[in-house]
Symmetry: D2
Subunit: 308 residues, 4 copies
Amino acid sequence: MAVVLAGHQYGKAENRVVRFQRDTPRHEIVDLNVTSTLRGDFADAYLTGDQSKVLPTDSQKNTIYAFAKEGPAGQGMAKGIVAVESYALDLARHFIEETGPVTGARIDVDSYRWERATVSGREHDHTWVRAGGEVRTAAVTVAGDGPDRETHVVAGLKDLTLLKSTGSEFKDFLVDGYTTLEPTQDRVMATSLVAQWRYDATCLADGFDFDAAYDAVRAVLVGQFATVHSLALQQTLWHMGKAAVESVPGVIEVRLAAPNKHHFLYDLQRFGVENAGEVFHADDRPYGLIQAVVADDTAPAAPLAWER
Amino acid sequence: MAVVLAGHQYGKAENRVVRFQRDTPRHEIVDLNVTSTLRGDFADAYLTGDQSKVLPTDSQKNTIYAFAKEGPAGQGMAKGIVAVESYALDLARHFIEETGPVTGARIDVDSYRWERATVSGREHDHTWVRAGGEVRTAAVTVAGDGPDRETHVVAGLKDLTLLKSTGSEFKDFLVDGYTTLEPTQDRVMATSLVAQWRYDATCLADGFDFDAAYDAVRAVLVGQFATVHSLALQQTLWHMGKAAVESVPGVIEVRLAAPNKHHFLYDLQRFGVENAGEVFHADDRPYGLIQAVVADDTAPAAPLAWER
Amino acid sequence: MAVVLAGHQYGKAENRVVRFQRDTPRHEIVDLNVTSTLRGDFADAYLTGDQSKVLPTDSQKNTIYAFAKEGPAGQGMAKGIVAVESYALDLARHFIEETGPVTGARIDVDSYRWERATVSGREHDHTWVRAGGEVRTAAVTVAGDGPDRETHVVAGLKDLTLLKSTGSEFKDFLVDGYTTLEPTQDRVMATSLVAQWRYDATCLADGFDFDAAYDAVRAVLVGQFATVHSLALQQTLWHMGKAAVESVPGVIEVRLAAPNKHHFLYDLQRFGVENAGEVFHADDRPYGLIQAVVADDTAPAAPLAWER
Amino acid sequence: MAVVLAGHQYGKAENRVVRFQRDTPRHEIVDLNVTSTLRGDFADAYLTGDQSKVLPTDSQKNTIYAFAKEGPAGQGMAKGIVAVESYALDLARHFIEETGPVTGARIDVDSYRWERATVSGREHDHTWVRAGGEVRTAAVTVAGDGPDRETHVVAGLKDLTLLKSTGSEFKDFLVDGYTTLEPTQDRVMATSLVAQWRYDATCLADGFDFDAAYDAVRAVLVGQFATVHSLALQQTLWHMGKAAVESVPGVIEVRLAAPNKHHFLYDLQRFGVENAGEVFHADDRPYGLIQAVVADDTAPAAPLAWER
């Protein structure tokens, strides 16, 4: 047998970029956590310690910050605050096109939300309050060259915590010798959703509005969670994913991972207090974890888009 | 010498209570993290292991959940979702009045914010999205009996992250042999604020609107952060505290702790890119930590209100 | 087009199982965080809400705790504290063999280390101190039936933080227009290692000592990190993986992910203090992230072993 | 009424200092998280924005890193790796003596443990593995000048997780209308201890061995936890504190905070499996929180030592 280097990649993780637009008295803010991952001809760095084909992760960091101001040829954020997907595309293409040994690049971005401070009922020009709640994500992958080039844009969100106080059942499930769960016709359903969705090639054209598409998918996910009468979290996820693919142009695949954050009805009858679905203990662990992939069946699969 | 038990207290920490109001199709949610701390005649539990005066922390937990439904004599949350301060007052008084050995009780509450899900432009009746951002806090202390009883209500917030992109200087500071900082006339100022404020005795009367007072203080804190032209975070804190005491009836003392979350201008000139206060690195550690106590000088000090 | 359910799985995450062996006065402890993931014929649960093929995650939880005492036919932990890999194999096989709709199961285990308390120089029989440091991991996957059955055991560790104060260089790297890093012949190298290694089929036979194999791999990883004069973290990872495959029987593939935890020499010359590689600032973010897969090239690839 | 600045302090938090001793081939490592807090004549910085008496937190950071190499007059760490308490004393005295407006200083230090890597059975000269487990802490306070100067050293530890599988009861407790807990004669007792202890003035003399005292106190705490047959966590804490004061010279006051990390016996009887104190669920929240202060009654109280 021989021992071989069967895979490798490297990059700079968690660059905390904050970008302001200050051209007018009304400033804008973009607050990002950016990670670069490069793939290519780096085996010698591992096998012999020869670094001559390795672009330092420090250089990747510099590039990430520089592109936050100004992308290639005066594009990118130089023209104003563009969508994070476009910024990530610029970065990925730069690394693959300008660095000889690089044959693939992935850019991951977390985007934190800020809301303008309200002062005397009016939005302030240059002060914000961090919004908390969900984090917007983007993962852009570019690989290969010429006609073989693959380009994938996966948008998403994480930490979107949703809860409904009724409209959720769980019953008629499989029972085995370890089953003690009672069926229920009315429970609290809560999750902290991670959703990612892949755009088709038409979205790579100039002018596609990634921000509007994000808002549309988020609205669909929240709307389905609220309005589907749920027979299980599985069923709710299916309807969330299906509605996103059907109703938001460009979305061809949705991946959902949803912890079932259990809320247990607290037994107050022991103290003579009625508890008709009113007081719950929100438990930490363990939790159910339900996952689903929903796709347009005419869209070609793209495993590379999901490879971390 | 003799070794003595010089102090002691105990309780149940981090009870994750979720309370719904379901009397009408439009439900309400209150999501709390509640901690009880009891003080009193418990020395024997330590010195000899005699537990006969110790109310189990498990019983405290049961009480916390039961009072989320129904407080003493049909008051409390039984009448609907009341302010967390009132709920904490009911709990503290219960422990001190109903449990013989208990001579003092402190109830700490963290309250998490939820916003109604929006579906087709309308607020949903029984689905919410967790809001993130700041957490509302309350700390109620009751001690002693009869005319000597002390009762204190301290409200607050934490994790209120604020940022302004201009309107902040730091210059003309003390310089010693270890000083290398350059003065600046225009910097990013950001903090993740912890604020606590003490109410006077008039707020203990029935009908005081703790929720409105909270909103008023929060608005003042955000407003001052935004509008004061800052010569230092110290100065900003002073104006935040001062405005809260002056403008919100019942508030007599404000304690503020503010990390100075440093944003460093990224040097892009090395790559021929101008950076006029537009691209920053948000650093994690170390950070400045600035603290202030602002008070109405006619209000008596109340160290017990702040004792954890 | 049609929208289809292209993938799905579900399970119970983060069951915090603590198992004692109390047959003699000298007790033993095993402290685990266990996650089950089931794959199979569950599409109806998503598409129509029909739960009749869904074993509740609550039942999975019960099974996980029950098997911590007693596996199938008096095996498993009933015979004493066995390796976590064997416990996970028992669980995975149980779900696939005893639950009709289940065609695949994955069991993930984190194992926390405890050391016996030392009292008057001797190990105590029933008291432990949690050791901290690295967490041992195991991921067992079983899929299919009869001759087509695949069984994979991946062991590992995470949070193994290693640091060397010399014996590490980084120079002669690729330079582009964004490169400002200075080459160095002597730097601090530190990482918080995540390592996972796959065992071959011979390790599935009764009597394979997973605990000894774990200790052997850990020792090799630490030893290579210490003794390889490093030209880059990439080169160090290669030698760590290579030595594990070459020297530990049964190990056929190693996957390594290593953050480069940067330590920056603090500039003390400004204050007239010499700093010859003695005082550093340990930075949080960003960090380099270097990854490698090292394998025996005669071993068949097993993508299923790594699928989460 | 007038609104006044009733209190204030400021400093630089969480400086991540790593210090190596490299004088011989066998290197040494000290890994610290250092926070400075200054008190003094800073009211103008708040009230009018006048910073002329404010030493920037950036200068404090520089001082913290410089003193890690070389303290005043060739003392401190310049002579080798000294105890963190001595390093903190040097820093506190420096700020109060060299900076006019400073009248008090507090230095908090967390110290992370590393163990030498073992290679072929021998300790390696310049490679370490981070030990995890408890963090050693120190809090030094210096205030005032001349004969009125107060100097306090409080050492401690946090995250020391201890567990015993037998030798712990809880019964004969107070029962009220909300009590449902069953008494137990044999339970699992576990905690994640925070302990702090104050040294008397004799320990400030040159040559006091803070490292040996730390080891002695830690050994006493672990030993008492293990060997006291516990009637309650309260009783265990008392014996831990008492033994520390009685047996470690210089220790005059111990403060203990101990979460009661609940382990619930898992009901396996439902599946026909016996569970004689062998399989538990380790719960996250809520948890009991027990606190105690144990002191030598001839030692003067020192509230300033504990003020954060």
